[in-house]
Structure formats: C-alpha cells, structure tokens
Amino acid sequence: MISVQQEDFSLSDEYRALREDAPRVGAIVTFTGLVRDRNEGAAVSSLCLEHYPGMTEQVLEDLVAQATARWDIINVRIIHRVGRLEPDDQIVFVGVNSAHRSDAFAACEFLMDALKTTAPIWKQEVADGSARWLDARNEDSERLASWEPELQRNEQLQKNEQKRQNQQQQGGES
C-alpha cells in the first residue's frame, strides 16, 4: 500500500494492517519520521511539502518492487504526507512485515534511504520567519549508495545460482 496524502496517519491502524498477514508474519518493522523543530541551528515553524503527483507513486511502487525482489518480505506500507506540516507532526511512515526480522529490518531501512533520494518530493521550510527550499543532503545520497555493494553482491549471487543451474542441466543432458 502506497499513499501520498495530506492527512495524518495512525500507527496503530498501520500496525494492524501489517498484522493481517499473520500467521506467516514473524516480524514487523516500522519507521516513522517526524518534523523536527530545528534544522541547521534555525528554529523551524512549519514545512510545506510538495510532490509530483503520479510520478511519486510510480517511484515508490518501483522501490517496493526492488525491496520485494531483494528480501524475503511479505508486505510493505508507505505513507508520505504533503502540504503544510508543523514540528512534531508525522511526515513519513514505512512498515514492512516478513517471516524473519533481518529481512524486515533491511528492507525498511533500504526503502527509507531510497525514498529520501529518489521520490520527487520537496520541502520548503519556514524558519526564523522566512521560507526557503531545502537543499539535498550528500549524506542521504551516501546512505543510498551504501546499499549498492550489497545489491551488486545479491545480483552476483543470483547470476552464480543461474550459472550453477545451467551447468547442472548441461551435466544432466550429457
């Protein structure tokens, strides 16, 4: 389930939805992002988030497909709020359920890191009385890049497995 919405969300509703896949579910990992009251030393009075409707949903669907292909997870729920938000408001939710915790932890963290650098959503911050568009942070790109070696390793493992199966087939035929 993917939703880009102005309304707030309920953690208990999201948790309940992730439990609906029980008894296959052995682990539920959720992440909730909140609006901080300070950014780079300045007091934040509000944020205004805008997105590119249609593309945001497509990007998030694609990230869920990537996570589902890479980890043994059952279901994903992502909510991103847009519009005007104030400090302490909930801004983003990522929830993942799976049979075992390691897949749910990894997929949830990957989804959050990938979402931050790829979903077309922009923050305008009102701090100390003036509005400004926030700049992208290198730290976020570095966090996403940190998943690459593992992704490449997984792809290599898949290729190796394919090669092994092909060799077995050839061996069986001869």
């Binding site: 988030l49 590119y52 593309m55 497509q58 979402l115 077309p120 959503i121 923050k123 568009w133």
Partner: protein, 84 residues
C-alpha cells in the same frame, strides 16, 4: 511539436511558471533540443534548465538529457529532492 512542460518546487518559483503547453518553434526530437529552445528565453531559463543537478522526467519517468521526445510528451524539470 507540442509538449506539456512542468517546473517543480524551487524551479517553479525561480521561473515563475508551474506548467505550460509549449509548441516548439523547431522540431524537438530530443530533450536536449527542447531544453535549448526553452533556454533562449533568457539567462535565468538557461541556467535553471541546464543545471546538472536538475533532473528531467518524460511522462513521469526520469530520463537522460539525450532521450528522444514525441509530440504530446509531458516533460518535467525536477530540482534535487529533499524528502522524508
């Protein structure tokens, strides 16, 4: 050729334009050709649209700047995202 062109977030503010129906003066068979044409509007437009940190989506999918275009495509200019 006709395009629906969108400018998101910071770019919308800088260019004072959120969306326009643009009929190109010359055939624009690639994104680069469309960008070159839009850049002739002035220095502000040239700087904003040729900024390497600005991404471009065609029909809501990110593409390279040498990608082909078809009449009727929706072209969107996206500043670096700041989300979450």
């Amino acid at each position: 050729m006709d395009f629906q062109v969108r400018y998101l977030a910071r770019l919308r503010d800088e260019l004072q334009c959120s969306e326009e129906r643009y009929s190109s003066l010359q055939p624009c068979n690639t994104l680069e050709e469309l960008i070159s044409e839009l850049a002739t509007r002035g220095e502000l437009w040239r700087e904003a649209l040729t900024d390497p940190s600005v991404s471009v989506a065609v029909n809501k999918v990110l593409v390279e700047r040498n990608s082909p275009l078809n009449s009727g495509d929706e072209v969107a200019f996206l500043p670096p995202v700041t989300v979450g």
